[in-house]
Amino acid sequence: MLSLFSCAFLSVLTTLGILYVLFSNAVYSFDSETTAFFQEVSIGDFLTDTEWTPQYKNDRHFGILPLALGTLKITGIAALIGLPIGLAGAIYLSEYASPRMRNAIKPTLEVLAGIPTVVYGYFALIFVTPYLLQPFFSDLLGFEVKIFNAASAGIVVGIMIIPMVSSLSEDVLRSVPRSLREAGFALGGTRFDVSTKIVLPAALSGIIASFLLAISRAIGETMAVTIAAGLLTTTSLNPFESSQTMTAYIVNVSSGDTPVGSIEYKSLYAVAITLFFATLAMNILSQWVLKRFREVYQ
């Protein structure tokens, strides 16, 4: 009993510790010898400046916008790919697939979920860009597709979140009572009618929650975008440009030779706390959606 409590308490403690480190480096330093990021850079500048150049000694800008936009762009592409495919998969698994088919597909999806993200990044770089994006978009349609680009990263992140969306959504679809489906069939509904007009609306809150969780996963995704999306901090919306995300920035700076205590080093924490709040907001939102819109069946 006590040991179980300790385990639970430990995870709370860890969270608090991480929060403390983020807060003391980004927002307010409790040590009078040092200063936190936002004690040097105003939050106003951080949110409104459109340039992010901590590495330029003479012309530093700390506007989060380009990084946030990079994250947003890749998350958007990922959502565009991962959510519909994941949901369609969930509907297929829950409403159409025979038990045998389901037993074949579910483990496959789990394998997809188990692939290390670094492999996805590599896959984006050596397959998606040269064999999918470039032949189609640059050779055929005439866009310039960079080797490192947001689209390829978005695509693989989208693939990455498919298992998450489909397994979470399948669970909520399957939890819709069988009696509701039977009633739908008894009224002359086809399988498609029943799936889309009864089961899907009844499970909507859970599906939206699974979407939000998947999006928050896409926002936090690091390795694949670091490899595939490139290092350019840009406010361009062109998906074929290189585009650094918040997570990729953290990787690049923390793996480099940035001196501890420099403003560049502290900017890591500012970005990290932004990411933290973004994913926290998504999680809270998904919890709220689940609570607020959950259908209660008798």
Binding site: R181, E182, A186, G188, G189, D193
Partner: protein
């Protein structure tokens, strides 16, 4: 409650199927139990139906016919196959993996298990009301309009008419007419069940199957449902599964008694309850088992 007048509404059963029944239930005189009025058409005609869940046989050589615009009650102890039988009539069992039916079931002139049959169209001719009320988590209006909508009705005005007529038929209109856009989940249990009946009526069926429609309801709601069945049988052919002998006696003109997957006896309700020809039927209706 008014007793069903079994003298007026009677069935035609071809002598052939009477013979079948006779051979099925050895030693009983089923001609006595099967009134033969040449005027009433046979709506549902079931011939030698065997039904299987995988390897388990649930129905054994069941044959019976249901006359048009009458109520037939299916009675019998739990697990006797009466619900399974009911669900063969709109092919509801099709959605259960591994089920199989032998024999034939005809709806008017159509073999509903023929390969060419459109199951979806069949189910809009043969509606079904379940034991547990199953309102969709939508508004009252959308619940009723569900059937007509998937059948292709889009005109708002037409849908409104259908909703009103169906709710009136189900004796629910006065209670909900001012809150058609409220969630159907907020209705009481009895109201939800009448909503489900209205929803079934909205698809304009010819036959309504009811699987213990009142077993989860309080006595007052049950009485309302029974009154409703009384009204509905003027227009619809109804087959109802019930555990409640009094209910079977009150609402039906015909009763079929199932036991261990076999049809033991079928006949006019009054006859079957007062003068059953089978010992098992008598034991069951007098409460000796089940």
């Amino acid at each position: 409650m008014e007793q069903p007048d079994t003298g007026e509404i009677t069935s035609t059963t071809s002598s052939a199927s009477s013979e079948k029944r006779q051979s099925l239930v050895s030693g009983s005189n089923l001609n006595r139990a099967q009134p033969t009025d040449e005027n009433a058409r046979t709506m549902i005609d079931v011939n030698h139906v065997n039904f299987y869940y995988g390897d388990v046989q649930a129905l054994f050589d069941v044959s019976l016919s249901v006359p048009e615009k009458s109520v037939m009650a299916l009675i019998g102890p739990s697990g006797c196959g009466k619900s399974t039988f009911l669900r063969t009539l709109n092919r509801m069992n099709d959605i259960i993996e591994g089920t199989r039916l032998e024999g034939s079931i005809r709806l008017e002139d159509q073999d509903i298990y023929a390969p060419a049959i459109d199951v979806v169209a069949l189910r809009s001719r043969v509606g079904m009301v379940f034991q547990k009320s199953t309102p969709f988590p939508k508004s009252i209006f959308d619940n009723i309009a569900f059937g007509p909508r998937i059948a292709g009705t889009t005109s708002r005005k037409k849908l409104k008419d259908i909703v009103e007529v169906s709710l009136k038929q189900a004796a629910l209109w006065d209670e909900v007419k001012d809150r058609l856009n409220d969630s159907a989940m907020a209705l009481s249990g009895g109201q939800q069940q009448r909503l489900c009946i209205a929803r079934t009526l909205a698809t304009n069926p010819e036959v309504i199957l009811m699987d213990e429609p009142a077993s989860a309801l309080d006595p007052a709601s049950t009485a309302r449902i029974e009154d409703l069945i009384f009204e509905l049988r003027k227009q619809y052919t109804i087959v109802i599964v019930t555990h409640n002998m009094q209910q079977a006696a009150r609402v039906s003109q015909y009763t079929a008694f199932f036991y261990q997957g076999r049809l033991i006896e079928v006949g006019q309700t009054q006859e079957l309850f007062t003068n059953p020809s089978e010992k098992q039927t008598e034991d069951y209706i007098t409460g000796r088992f089940g």
